[in-house]
Symmetry: D3
Subunit: 321 residues, 6 copies
């Protein structure tokens, strides 16, 4: 881990099992196997855009745990893994059943007591923040266990001490904890955060913000002494407050094949451009383009290239032959 | 068959063979195998909504015949089957090729001379209408053979004598008989029916009804001394006349993955709610919600749960995680 | 049909539907679709070995019927089809479930009342035996219906009048008729046959032959005034009596992927070599090699090339790179 | 549950996820979904042989839990389930990777803290042993949790009080507990058992029996006051001691597609024949035939029919057409 | 090749390899295999509409080359192939990755140095234009190599001498050559062409036409002394100038499953109707209907029937049962 | 590339496309996509056994080229790639059709003019042999083009100068060059080689060695001043001559799912153990065990773990649960 690292992310990654379209978990005979986790999705998306990315986590040293590392490596992500004894640990798993209106997409988590829930900062490689530009994690991680919350704090602090930019995606998950618990933890973490990504709805419902989008973003920025707040608003696009300016960014129209991971793709595109040296409005554009491309692709990860992002930004489309 | 049964249905169920999307029967190398039959679709849909349902039929005692029973059992349906000698009988089969506009969905029947066409009421289990609430069959059954028509009449009469509510879905199939033949048979059956489901188009084209929807439903009700007439009108939703009142119900928007079985799902939802003790407007709502959910799922059967119907009625949607 | 034709075959071809290995018809969700019929298997196998082959049959003018023609055309077979109105006719179908010992391979026929059962010689193209070398059919065809038997006789007679060599594979099917019925029909057909292929077991059990293999073959030859009798004996290989000589041929060892169609492949190889001008021992070798290759390939048809047959005859094997 | 029940079984059933042949868990993109559990395998195998079977268990009321019930129902098994709140419970899962020599088949369990581990006898339906002939469970169940062990004892006692024959398959699983722990529990359970199935190797290694097969079986019978002991010896077949007699039974040769569930199929066949009224030697034959058929079929369950068992016992084989 | 041929086409056909929807070439584990080439697409589409069609090409005598011929034969196309020694030649291949907006569909060609690039007219069967009505080729063919361009000219000249109508689809491919090179070649070929199909965009960008659609079509007609010019305008439909008249044709709405091959389907429908004896407006209708049907079907080829085209023209739709 | 590297390999890697078992390239609709190349197979196999491995090659910067790198990365291999402009270069491809006796496995190469054939040593990363233990390449590489041969020599020389152990696997491919050409090149390369792997058959047929296995190995060792010669003899196992001693190693019995890559797996196991510090006999054991495990797995690469190799060496087998 001695070379320059653009981006370190930290969080749990799960096996993702999904039946074919139009089939149900109750009746399917086949599950497609992929992997997914908010933080590794960001690392993989960024690595595909040529960012030098590292992902930190804890996994059982089993075929299932190793498979997650293999898939991330295939996207060019380097990994720093605390390997758990497979006899007494399990790999977090989630089942996803895609469904159109009015059925909706259904996620069934089977992640409790996973190896990750026992993680300690001391198990991770040393010196991970040397020569590192950015550290990213999300609000899912501290929801997983006390140990995971403690490690989140430890890493944010260590990153801060090493002068690394710390970015945080709120990612509230109602299946993991209550709004009140979540809010308390989030607010204690914000002092270690530089850039916050937060959906407008969660800002209102979980963080109890009020006012219009600019009010909310500005309020979070000043209340928690953040450098940048990016408020995402679904189809309405994103809005960032940074350095006293407000920047708005619409979405690119997309034929959605799989919406899971869209938010992570947005963060991957945004951080890639920031690491490239781009300003916030430029990064918002990259985030929006990466998110739109992700929607056309199955799985959690934005399996795309820089050329494709640039092509979206230039408005190209159609069949190229 | 000694316990309370909410719903008994009667009719033929076929193997359903379909190529992958975008492929044609003439060229495909793979067929997905499912089962489908209007009356067992209703039984299975209702059973999934916790109705105690029984399906009566005749099948060859072959792997293909037994497969149909296995699939229905998996949905919780109890079965009362007249098993035919496999040497001299066959399982009805249908091929379905899904196609978008302007190609349309194509159904190829291979059901002639199936075991079901030789059914006699005496072959079915005794006492099937003891402790039974509702008996349902459709206008497909009497079209299949003289024996099937005779058995339909026998069962409707027996149900009537046992004080069971008899419901009937017109389900006109132009590939099985002419409008004139169908009309004559339908009208002779109506005297044994309490609730009639009929598409508006068939009411006009086959039953030669005239006037607006209310006129049609009201006319059928009074002409045939029915308790309830439910007129379905595709995207316009359904209209019921019952007890001197008219009730209208719109449709719920749905991303259609497979439209086959939508009508049966409507009946399953409607009957479930009636058996629960719901009034006609409530039952219409359940019918509409069940039908919308069905459209998102491959196969003939509404593989859904009570919670999902309730969730549609409460207007929930989106990804739940 | 004005050009030279090496081989005309006549018989029914069915859809062949089979579940994946290790799965059962009662539980599978997927069926592989192929086509199979003893006589078209011979035509296709021979066409792949560069024989100019034509297959005569009757099929519904439906996607299922046309699919059978498409598949045979893809192997280079020309077809002479009596097309039946799809409204009142069906395509013969068979289900095959491969199973190892002690379960065995299970074939479920669904072929009764197929379009083929109504065939008349007058429906087939005219002049089919002009410039034709060989006519081949099997003992399955007359078992299917009276019309099919009558047409078999008509075609054998017409071929004889046109000076075409007539070959016949006994192919007894216990699911279609009794040994006594079969025997009676077979023996009435033999007067129109030049070359007979018959499994030793059927010669004994159906034709009631006695003695060792040579006795049986010789007895059939003299009793029915045949030119050549080829007796097949499973793993023991084949034995031919012709022109007063006895020729024996062993089998080539094969890793069996799918045994169905092995006998037809043998006939295809044998006839190909005879049509090439080869003598009986040479033809037996080609039959054995073609049969061995077939066993390695899924489906009814020997999808192989002349080079592969020659390579087996030369004893080559292993990975060629 | 008021009617006559031939067989009640009790134990955990898991989702079974397996990659295609030749693929590894670390790299596969597809998992086949089935269900498996020693006791439900016995119930399903027996139900397919026309035994009236009930399976008792505990599962989350989730799509994954309901799927297990659906699959068992499809085989004709009735179920008595304690449904757990899906929010706080999980479905046991196991991954199986089939491999030939020298790799071997690999099973990865992910079953800890499943809903089943919290089962109490009081959660199961009342009166389950009324009108019941046989109760079957295995040595896996008490290894799962203290609650599961307690419930095993409670049910064995209740069955004994109701005069039900109690059968027990040792099924030692080294991944669940140590030999010493297992032995102690097994020996405390044997007082509630009438018929014991035990592999010779486990008798020696876990139960510390000594001597030849007859000595072992006889020793267990007398030490624990059992009625019947069936010792299984892999390819060498089974040996039973009962009523002072020793009975031996060889195996039927089988082309093994999937060996998992072979032991459960043996028990299903054995118990079926005992319930039919067959003597021990007859039951051993049925066990051996059922086990051999199972090996040819993918999944845990012997998806076979009475006719197929009889056909093996009569020595039939080959392609039937 | 002695009988009447309605349509001869000439050009390269490639293997077409495509990942499942939502998957990427960089990560997919499965590729669907089909075949595609503009000129064989036209031949196959027309053959399915009962045109007697022949396709001329050059391919390696390898499994990959023979597969292309097999697939075309299955659609009823007769083939005239110059077979190349497989040792020193390759089969053109293309990869297609379907993607929704904003990703677009991506085509990766791997066709350089294919066997076709060495084609000479002398390698093709003799007398191919005897008794032939129409000869069709496209602007892809001369872009492939000098030999291919020379052969294109040779065949157009030979067709002209034989009094065969020559039709030409511009089909500009930016991945094969520059606009300037293309224009020069196109314009030298036009003197041998009777009917030209050209997309409006290519007319402007490659042929440097100016003005509105009528101006462009008319200009091309008079500049190059063509009989008919058909200008295609995507969703706006087509416009033809012929015999001093202008004919416009809209598009039929279609649910697009696979847009590749739509233009070739249009040509197939148009030429079929012209060969039938239909006038230009009638042919435009057939072209539009065939194109719309093609969009609903996977692969390059319009796997449809005359009945389906007629059904579109009559405005029928919906599920027929 | 500044850290310690155990193993550097160099050579071309291709897309590997294979139809399902029992299907043929001429008729299959699906191809499984993997990647394969002798030298990257060794790197991946060794990396899975915890060797720090780097693979050097040249590929087009296209989805197909990048896919190869992704797959190798997923196994933990680091890559040093000369990326070629995708517009003018192609990815080598090979098709493999698995077949049992007597058909054999068929490999169809489509690798001519691939990007790799233009490789120059100067395009590869600098300093690749710093801190490196072993360099491995094979006799396929110099057969691909003059540039590839020149680069092979350049790298072997550079490795020699850096004091890196150079290992070479003869890997004669008759589809690439003649025995005479191959022999001349091989013999010129041997002066740069320390360890040679060679099949006995190729030693005799290509290198024209004579005598028994020991004579051959010893002769090669002394003629070319090699340190170690490993002679592989198929089912007879391997024999090594090194340091004046002769070591023999048998094979482990294996159920072969896919034999391709067995030789590369042997080399991977052998080199891994040598790099671990093991002596030649120990390395031969690891080679044999790795090769046996490979045979059970689909694809070119030995997707196995150290534990599995150790388990084979300890003679464990069976189902572990």
């Amino acid at each position: 881990m001695g070379r320059v690292t653009d981006l370190v992310t930290f969080g749990e990654t799960m096996l993702r099992l999904s039946p074919p379209r139009g089939e149900r978990l109750e009746t399917t005979r086949n599950l497609e196997v992929q992997t997914g986790g908010a933080e590794s999705n960001v690392a993989a998306g960024a690595a595909r855009l040529d960012v030098n990315a590292v992902w930190l986590s804890k996994l059982p040293d089993s075929p299932l745990g190793r498979r997650i590392v293999s898939e991330l490596r295939s996207h060019g992500v380097r990994t720093g893994i605390a390997w758990a004894d497979p006899a007494g640990s399990r790999t977090g798993t989630y089942y996803i059943e895609h469904g159109g209106d009015p059925r909706g997409t259904n996620v069934v988590y089977d992640r409790s007591d996973s190896a990750f829930t026992t993680i300690e900062a001391s198990e991770l490689p040393e010196g991970i923040f040397e020569n590192t530009t950015t550290f990213h994690t999300t609000g899912i991680t501290p929801a997983l266990s006390e140990a995971a919350e403690r490690t989140t704090v430890d890493l944010l602090e260590a990153a801060g001490e090493a002068g690394v930019t710390r970015t945080f995606d709120l990612n509230y998950r109602g299946k993991l904890w209550s709004p009140a618990e979540a809010r308390k933890t989030y607010e204690s973490l914000f002092e270690h955060v530089d850039t916050l990504f937060v959906p407008r709805r969660d800002a209102i419902e979980i963080l109890e913000c009020e006012g219009d989008a600019v009010d909310i973003a500005h309020g979070l920025l000043t209340d928690h002494d953040l450098e940048t707040v990016v408020l995402t608003r679904g189809e309405k696009g994103a809005l960032a407050v940074s350095d006293g300016s407000v920047h708005e960014q619409g979405t690119f129209e997309a034929d959605t094949h799989d919406a899971i991971g869209t938010g992570d793709a947005f963060v991957a595109g945004f951080l890639t451009r920031r690491i490239d040296g781009g300003a916030v409005p430029d990064a918002l554009q990259w985030g929006a383009a990466t998110a739109a491309l992700k929607r056309t692709i199955g799985g959690d990860i934005a399996v795309i290239s820089r050329e494709e992002v640039e092509s979206v930004l230039e408005g190209e489309s159609g069949i190229d032959r």
